[in-house]
């Protein structure tokens, strides 16, 4: 079973993602950027779901550090964001995210499809 790192500070969002994905993927859950970077380097997943609005180190900075490390630079990373403003998608793809899912996750098929496209 493939592994997905879920980086999300909101506990109910983590629970929701777990409910959607846990039948198909192994999940490593992290509540902060530094915790995620340490965990992902120690146990590299196949894909990262990364919240943008993390307290302290935000998702863009986590992505920058992942991309700067040769061991994690190749990982597909999907942005999770509740901002959902016009132009957000292009901006996030422009800084190196592989895809973008807006929150609340109202259609779990969108999330599953986005992941399947990247890691099958």
């Amino acid at each position: 079973m493939k592994r997905i790192a879920v980086v999300e500070d909101n506990e109910d969002n983590r629970l929701l993602v777990e409910a959607i994905l846990s039948d198909s993927y192994e999940l490593d859950q992290y509540a902060s950027g530094p915790e995620a970077l340490a965990g992902i380097r120690a146990t590299p997943p196949d894909l990262v779901l990364l919240d943008i609005s993390l307290p302290g180190m935000d998702g863009r900075e986590v992505l920058r550090q992942l991309r700067a490390d040769p061991a994690t630079a190749h990982l597909p990373v999907i942005a999770l964001t509740a901002h959902a403003m016009t132009g957000d998608r292009e901006a996030l793809l422009g800084v190196g995210f592989d895809d973008y899912i807006s929150k609340p996750i109202l259609d779990e098929a969108l999330l599953l499809d986005a992941i399947a496209k990247l890691i099958g």
């Binding site: 506990e11 629970l15 929701l16 409910a19 609005s53």
Partner: protein
């Protein structure tokens, strides 16, 4: 029949009839002959759903036109309850037995905690913190179908340049909206558990 709902856009199919209301898809000719006594167009219900891109517009006609404000309140309450029930129904489909209860508990506790922190914060010195708490509330409220709470939190999240009085007024609205939605969530969750 006390009222008619007319809905515009994809949400037309998700408004079932109830004992007090009849529903119909919107047509341009519909409202004219009905001469509605109350028109409720609430930005709270601008759709943020992926499958619905148009605002919901509810036109309600009552046989008792004396109190359109009461009718508007009923429409609002009906929509809030409807949104919560839809959200919990979706969560029931996604998760296992105790999932909905855990989601409601976690999200409600999180909203309580963030709201208390916002209300205790200095609206000038702690504005960034208030905006961050609002972001967290927006996210949890969205998971629960609490759209009015989600919308108010979203507005506060964007309030970095607002005067303090405006932020305080919006916080009071948010507190009031959450006080209205929270018992509905608890009741809907209890019903789903039995």
């Amino acid at each position: 029949m006390t009222a008619l709902f007319y809905t515009l856009g994809p949400c037309a199919s998700c408004l079932p009839a109830s004992p007090d209301w009849e529903t119909a898809p919107y047509s341009p000719d519909g409202p004219r002959h009905l001469r509605p006594t109350a028109l409720v167009v609430d930005a709270a219900y601008e759709s943020q759903a992926a499958d619905s891109t148009l605002p919901r517009i509810v036109i309600a006609q009552t046989s008792d036109p004396a109190d359109p404000h009461a009718l508007a309140a009923r429409v609002r309450d009906w929509l809030i309850r409807h949104d919560v029930e839809q959200a919990l129904s979706r969560l029931r489909r996604i998760g296992k037995a105790d999932f909905v209860g855990r989601m409601v508990h976690l999200a409600s506790a999180g909203i309580d905690e963030h709201l208390a922190a916002m209300l205790a914060a200095d609206p000038v010195a702690a504005r960034l913190s208030i905006c961050q708490h609002a972001h967290a509330i927006k996210s949890s409220a969205g998971n629960l179908g609490a759209r009015i709470v989600q919308r108010l939190a979203s507005e506060i999240e964007q309030s970095r340049d607002w005067p303090s009085a405006s932020v305080e007024a919006k916080l009071a609205q948010l507190q009031q909206a959450w006080a209205m939605v929270k018992p509905l969530l608890a009741a809907a969750n209890m019903e789903s558990a039995t």
